[in-house]
Point group: C2
């Protein structure tokens, strides 16, 4: 048995490529089956030079980057080695056509994987692009359970842009020193205890708590603060992430954010970035010198190493939309053959002023679909949903609600509930298509601080059901929070779909006039879109993917207190559901 | 829905007595059904005046004490409100005859209860006595998930001892500031990181971290240490637990320990204690001035308030068997009408010297069954198992093993595996009945430090299977740990059974001669017995309870790294297993 176990252990750390066609890994012409053996477990790590327990895959934080080719089948055998916690992994941006049960959202597409169980995800990555995977049970993503999923084009297909330097990628995140259990407790306490601002910003899982604050303009990252003793630049464990480039070359840089709370701004000093793709879809190229990246979003940008090659340059990440209380996250753009330890002689780069929302809205409006490569939306929709997001007090608890429903999980996966007609698993009253506030009070003021005693919100888990093929518009309407003069950025992510972003607006959406501003010609396709303070965003999608799909704010503490919805479509065409996804709630076995 | 939820919320906190015969709650002649609605969730608490997150029931730590009457049926509806963790509750000391699926050990009697699920335990408390309930999934008990279960005699039956003052109870525990997740990570790391000594000792969930150290002989518990600012005696949140007594009266005091690691010694200064019951079984009374209480054990003692009534007295708890690094846990015996804030004028009481094991062995040997009230054991047994406990290194991990098998959980509840013949759920090779070490090396030296490279131990989850009615003897043999000159106390607890403690011995158990020292006349019946350093203990039980029952060390970090075994008996007479206990591992539904 010992020998057997040793072999198993060895296998766990070797992702095996079962079928490889001729050509390099990222330029195959035929699809392959990529098999991974993963173990989810705790890990003692110090991503920002402060010791903390993270949830890791195969002992790695961030979790290992997957490299696949469009059309490949991924087979991920996931062993849950957490002693008491269930787990599930969402494949963020993957459409899961025909495999909605492997979308990985706990209690929606599957039961949590129990401690000690092994669960096999198997699905096709049907479109090249930059995606993610991450824990999707309560706040496990915030514990570090996330990684990049990079899907390349097969040989024979070419990108609509060119670069001669190669591929680079950076996964951005914010980082908290408090455990997720304490964060979850605080969010579900009376009085409400918010998670607060993150302690650090990480680039590819590396940051420096409280160190960059002390960074002298022309000096090193070493500091005299006792907290920073270990995070001087000569400590390899705390060295910043390095992006090496050859002078004169152009690179494709993939950038994605798995932030808990923060909207991030990404900048490389002295360098422009040409945006060419977003969320795995091509966009008409445009040039920026700093890039807004909201949680759940990914970008591809072209970067040319065209600056003075005798020095290195800072890569900097800053918080947008919330008063910054977190130092700039730093990495190094290394001009080869300079040493990676050659620190740039300049101060840490700053983005736009945190509350200059006009800048962010303007950048968001620059996106349009790449002509000839992305489809245009249907010119009309079958229905319009208006989602009014409000912060409410429900039974003393501070919650977020959409049209007065604050989402709570069902104990039964909703996909199985639809498939097996387990109607008692969730609220059978459909959630409101329009804000009840508009009916009760036509003059609902999105700029006013709501009176928590009159919000009338309640907990619920009803589902928006669409007919197969239906074209649905959703307008997400922002409001003032319970804090006077405060409205926040919310990046909404849709599982199982890309949607067209038809337009953004300030103030209250007006169904008669606001629609006139829509871009129906070449709106960008995305899976995650930001709603800006006191504004709205309009999206359109086609309900053509039989399944049950969450659509929710990607800010983890917001989702945890209810800022989410669930859509079901094609429920008469749901596929057979594998047994391994069942066993909880109403899907326990009944016939032994 | 809001009103409905409010009613549910109100109900959650009212344990409802569905059937009450004539007479007081603790003196009913007829059995009742007691129904409880419980919610398991996180709670911010400061049991020793240091803030920590605990796992609580209905917001209480320790969890609420259950008061029942012999023959009652308990119905506990348990809602798991933990965001990511499963949970299960073991009813420690309850035999679960006919209901082995409600014993509450995760992956043995049931699947963990998933987040959001409600699980209903329903079983008869068939014998008066002092019992416990506690979490039995990984180390959740250590997070504070435990409470007392007190079962009284029905009216018409009388105790074989008398007291005129009433009933008192104290639940003892040790307390760690590190989270269980961090403890679990350390125990499963290379190199091994032990949990270390506890920070505090709690009496009925109350202690004072680092305060009692500074206690002046004639003064108050206030201290000048910054850590102790909040834990002076005038802070009600940090006030010690109080046992109020009327001078001259005699009380029945129930004492139980849910300690993580520590063997405890309980003492009330100036007062003798007359021991009358242990683990719910009557013993011949004997008098002590300090009482050893091992984790998982309970005692009833008679206490007479016969001292100077003008003062109060310290109740003190100290660590035995490990070099103390934890201050004495303190409560107050309050002589009414003195104020409960009248602190005793004396230093904290001390127990015996920590490593005077002879004192502990001598006290353990004082126990004998109460004549006429407890049965004698069968005079012979059908088989003898010898369990050699060794500390081992397996694949680099520090583990405990029994006969070279270090227990790992199955992903499938073993009870269901036996019932449904899911033989791939666990190792089909039965674990060794005798130590392989004795075969390989007849001169195995229990006093020597084992060479971790030659222990040949391996991970496993095989089961000891007994025929129904079989009489089984088990000898648990202690050894030296991997630390030179170190052997530790291990309290072994059996689920589903009381067993006779036939005898204790020093050194190596000798099947030919050691048995001659057995007490077969009136050995005490117990469910938890301590094995002393470099010694052995012999027990006898009758395999007459169809089910699958863990028998393991009750020291949580020892169990976590493998110091446990599982017994199955009457496997052809296993009852129908409720669906709610299934759904994990191989018990997922297959026919939808």
């Amino acid at each position: 048995m010992c020998l057997y176990r040793t072999i198993i252990l060895l296998l766990l750390f070797i992702p095996s490529l079962f079928f490889l066609a001729a050509g390099g890994r990222d330029s195959r012409a035929e699809a392959a089956v990529l098999e991974y053996d993963w173990v989810v477990g705790y890990l003692a790590a110090a991503p920002d030079c402060v010791q903390k327990m993270v949830i890791a895959i195969n002992g790695q934080f961030p979790a290992p980057t997957i490299h696949a080719v469009e059309g490949d089948t991924l087979v991920v055998k996931l062993k849950n080695n957490l002693p008491t916690e269930g787990v599930s992994i969402h494949w963020h941006g993957i459409h899961q056509r025909g495999t909605p049960f492997y979308d990985g959202s706990a209690f929606i597409s599957q039961c949590p994987i129990n401690p000690g169980e092994t669960f096999t995800y198997k699905f096709v990555v049907d479109r090249a692009g930059t995606y993610f995977y991450h824990g999707h049970l309560a706040m496990q993503r915030v514990a570090g359970l996330f990684g990049l999923l990079i899907v390349s084009l097969p040989s024979g297909k070419t990108e609509p842009f060119s670069y001669d330097g190669g591929d680079l990628s950076v996964l951005l995140s914010d980082w908290y020193h408090k455990s997720i259990y304490q964060q979850e407790l605080g969010l579900s306490s009376i009085p409400f205890q918010f998670v607060g601002e993150p302690q650090s910003l990480l680039i590819q899982g590396r940051g420096k708590y409280n160190c960059s604050l002390d960074l002298p303009p022309g000096g090193s990252a070493a500091s005299s603060s006792p907290d920073c003793l270990q995070c001087n630049a000569t400590n390899p464990a705390c060295a910043p992430f390095v992006l090496p480039v050859q002078p004169g070359k152009t690179y494709r840089l993939r950038i994605g954010s798995m932030a808990t709370l923060s909207s991030l701004n990404f900048k490389i000093e002295n360098h422009n970035l040409t945006v060419v793709a977003a969320d795995g879809r091509y966009v008409e190229p445009f040039v920026v010198d700093n890039l807004d990246v909201y949680s759940g979003q990914s970008y591809s940008v072209l970067l040319t190493a065209n600056q003075d090659p005798t020095q290195n340059y800072w890569v900097g990440v800053n918080v947008r939309g919330r008063k910054p209380a977190t130092p700039t996250g730093l990495a190094i753009l290394q001009y080869l053959p300079n040493s990676e330890r050659l620190l740039p002689p300049t101060p840490a780069p700053m983005g736009p002023v945190w509350n200059d929302f006009a800048v962010s809205v303007a950048q968001a409006q620059k996106y349009s679909a790449k002509k000839g490569l992305e489809s245009a939306p249907p010119t009309t929709s079958h229905k319009l949903l208006i989602f009014l997001m409000t912060q409410s007090i429900i039974n003393g608890y501070t919650r977020w609600a959409v049209n007065n429903i604050s989402q709570v999980p069902s104990a039964t996966p909703l996909l199985a509930a639809f498939k097996f007609k387990l109607w008692s698993a969730f609220d059978q009253t459909p959630p409101p298509r329009r804000p009840p506030q508009y009916t009760n009070n036509k003059h609902f003021d999105i700029f006013a601080t709501p009176n928590p005693n009159t919000t009338h919100a309640s907990l619920g888990n009803g589902v928006y059901v669409s007919k197969l093929g239906e074209v649905v518009d959703i307008v997400i309407q922002n409001t003032n929070t319970l804090v006077p003069n405060n409205s926040e950025i919310h990046p909404w992510h849709f599982h199982g779909h890309d949607f067209w972003v038809l337009g953004y607006g300030e103030g209250v959406f007006d169904p008669r006039n606001s629609t006139k501003t829509y871009n129906l010609l070449n709106p960008p396709l995305r899976n995650t879109v930001a709603v800006f303070p006191y504004g709205w965003v309009a999206i359109r999608f086609i309900a053509d993917n039989p399944g049950v799909w969450p659509f929710h704010c990607h800010v983890e503490p917001h989702l945890f207190v209810g800022m989410g919805t669930v859509f079901a479509e094609g429920i008469h065409k749901l596929p057979h559901i594998p047994s391994q996804t069942l066993g909880c709630g109403l899907t326990k076995p009944t016939r032994w």
